[in-house]
């Protein structure tokens, strides 16, 4: 190094020592650039740019975009499927609930007036929706029909062989036990026949189906978000340099985010539309063939829900779920790269 030259040029320059100013931490300045500009907000004039960028992203990352759509579609497919099953099981169970009633047998000593009084006492109870009087003759006919009495052996018996009874329908079978105990206390009740075992099984099954489908849907929803976040993370990772450059040039976070958010929305909508369309179109057909099939005979009389009952509820929920998954995925995937 030439020390003579350097010494000459290192004379104190006039810039070198401005007066020292103590700089205690100050509260944040009131004046801010962001109060002068509002460009970080969503602007309709930028929509063309956002949509063009979204389209470009999707086309450029065709495979990745298709993977994301397929993942969302697969998850939502299972969500719709489990909802359809859960909803049908619930529906069938409620139907079965109404068809499982209790039978109250009347003492032989009761006269017609007393029977009528008992009828009204039972009907006035809170949990009772309907009471039907079954005379011995009708009971005998019912029994003969149920047992397939083709030879008329049962019908040859005296009607008085059987007791008079009431068939009682309940509003809520979960309160069956309390209702039965109360009826048993009434004057003139000989005995009560209830299908307690069947009722308990139905209640347990109903609760189980509800809890199971809820848990399945919850797990699948979380799984879908995790998968989509990772898929979009890959897309964002491919473009991290672009995002960093945009930040250096002065792009706001939302100017960068919008195309990705719209991409998430598009992926979510397609991911939801595909399973909805597939299941909606094929649903009624599957249910009809299930009814027609003789594999399980009980299906023939089951009141399954129709597509028009299920999809107006499940379709919007699934679309919102799909869009939510897409948007959540894209925002969480980008966070890391925006802190430049």
């Amino acid at each position: 190094m030439n020390s003579t030259t350097t010494k000459k040029s290192t004379k104190p320059a006039k810039h070198i020592k401005p007066p020292k100013i103590k700089s205690p931490r100050q509260p944040k300045q009131q004046k801010s650039y962001s109060t002068n500009y509002k460009s970080g907000d969503f602007k309709f004039r930028n929509i063309k740019y956002y949509l063009a960028e979204t389209f470009r992203n999707i086309v450029r990352n065709k495979i990745m975009s298709l993977t994301s759509v397929a993942t969302v579609a697969a998850c939502l497919f299972i969500v719709i499927f489990s909802y359809a099953i859960g909803s049908n099981v619930n529906h069938v169970l409620s139907y079965l609930e109404t068809s499982v009633g209790i039978t109250v047998f009347v003492d032989d000593e009761l006269d017609v007036q007393q029977v009528d009084q008992l009828y009204h006492e039972i009907l006035d109870m809170g949990n009772v929706t309907a009471v039907t009087f079954i005379p011995p003759q009708e009971a005998l006919e019912n029994l003969a029909e149920a047992l397939g009495d083709t030879h008329g052996i049962l019908m040859s018996l005296e009607p008085d062989t059987l007791r008079r009874s009431f068939t009682v329908e309940l509003a809520d079978i979960r309160e069956q036990r309390e209702t039965v105990e109360y009826i048993a206390e009434l004057f003139g009740v000989h005995s009560i026949s209830e299908a307690a075992g069947v009722t308990d099984t139905l209640i347990t099954l109903n609760n189980f189906v509800f809890a199971f489908s809820f848990i399945v849907m919850l797990i699948l929803g979380i799984l879908a978000i995790v998968i989509i976040t990772n898929t979009i993370k890959l897309t964002v990772n491919n473009r991290r340099n672009e995002i960093i450059i945009m930040k250096y040039v002065g792009a706001t976070d939302w100017f960068i985010k919008w195309p990705f958010v719209i991409e998430g929305i598009v992926i979510g909508i397609f991911g939801a539309a595909i399973p909805i369309a597939i299941i909606w179109i094929s649903y009624d057909g599957i249910m009809d063939s299930l009814r027609d099939s003789q594999i399980i005979q009980m299906f023939t009389e089951m009141p399954f829900r129709s597509a028009s009952e299920i999809f107006p509820i499940v379709a919007p929920v699934v679309v919102i779920l799909g869009v939510g998954i897409g948007v959540l995925g894209s925002i969480s995937a980008m966070r890391k790269y925006l802190s430049v």
Binding site: S3, T5, Y33, K43, R60, N241, E242, I245, M246, G250
Partner: protein, 231 residues
């Protein structure tokens, strides 16, 4: 234009970026920041770009205290300055025209204005015939000229250059320097961090030398080698 008062930056890992730096760069000045690797040049540039926050002290740009600017305010600060990097940092999927126009687009400039300004700066940097080319179809010098066009298209009062000639051959580097000189002659303040001693010596501009985070030399018309005076 830039006022730095007793600025110190200590990173989370304890590394010291700059220490007790006090500087004043006037409007229209051309200042080189020189120093060896780890001297604090990059930290100073990052602080001006608000990429990192100060530990102590204050920085004013255009009489505005940027020390306490939030992350939300940063984009608006950056729009008031142009930035040129050693590795050009062009958007690879956009043409030369689109890269330059993008810097205007994000400021919500009207399309009419974009159509008027972009060809103007492209012709200023000599890229008017390459406006439809993509960055990978350009030479290093052309890419840097495109980055320069992007940096000045919004007519910022301050241009920050981080080793803008680092990836260029000597002739191309001088082309870029001539352009920077021309931009400076129009009144834009330029702060340029560099290792290129021949350029610093040849330009005869203000030189601020950093060592271990301290300003060890600040001369009005200096050369690169002067920085070793204090060694």
């Amino acid at each position: 234009m830039i006022r730095i008062n007793n600025a110190t930056k200590i990173y989370d890992n304890g590394a010291r970026g700059i220490q007790d730096v006090t500087l004043n760069i006037e409007k229209g000045e051309f200042a080189f920041i020189v120093g060896s690797s780890g001297s604090g040049k990059s930290t100073l540039i990052k602080l001006l770009l608000k990429e990192v926050d100060l530990t102590e002290g204050e920085i004013f740009i255009n009489d505005e205290n940027i020390t306490y600017f939030s992350r939300k305010d940063t984009p608006f600060l950056r729009r008031k300055m142009g930035v040129v990097f050693q590795d050009f940092r062009l958007l690879p999927n956009k043409t030369v025209y689109e890269n330059v126009a993008f810097a205007m687009q994000i400021t919500d400039a009207a399309n009419r204005e974009i159509r008027r300004n972009v060809p103007m700066v492209l012709s200023m940097v000599g890229l008017q015939k390459k406006s439809k080319a993509y960055p990978n179809q350009l030479s290093g010098g052309e890419q840097q000229r495109c980055a320069l066009a992007r940096a000045i298209v919004n007519n910022p009062p301050l241009l920050i250059c981080d080793e803008p000639t680092g990836n260029l051959d000597p002739d191309t580097a001088w082309d870029i320097m001539n352009l920077l000189n021309e931009i400076n002659d129009r009144g834009t303040t330029i702060v340029m961090a560099t290792h290129a001693w021949d350029i610093v010596d040849g330009m005869k501009k203000r030189v601020i030398a950093l060592k271990n985070g301290f300003v060890v030399r600040d001369v009005e018309r200096g050369g690169y080698s002067d920085e070793f005076y204090n060694d």
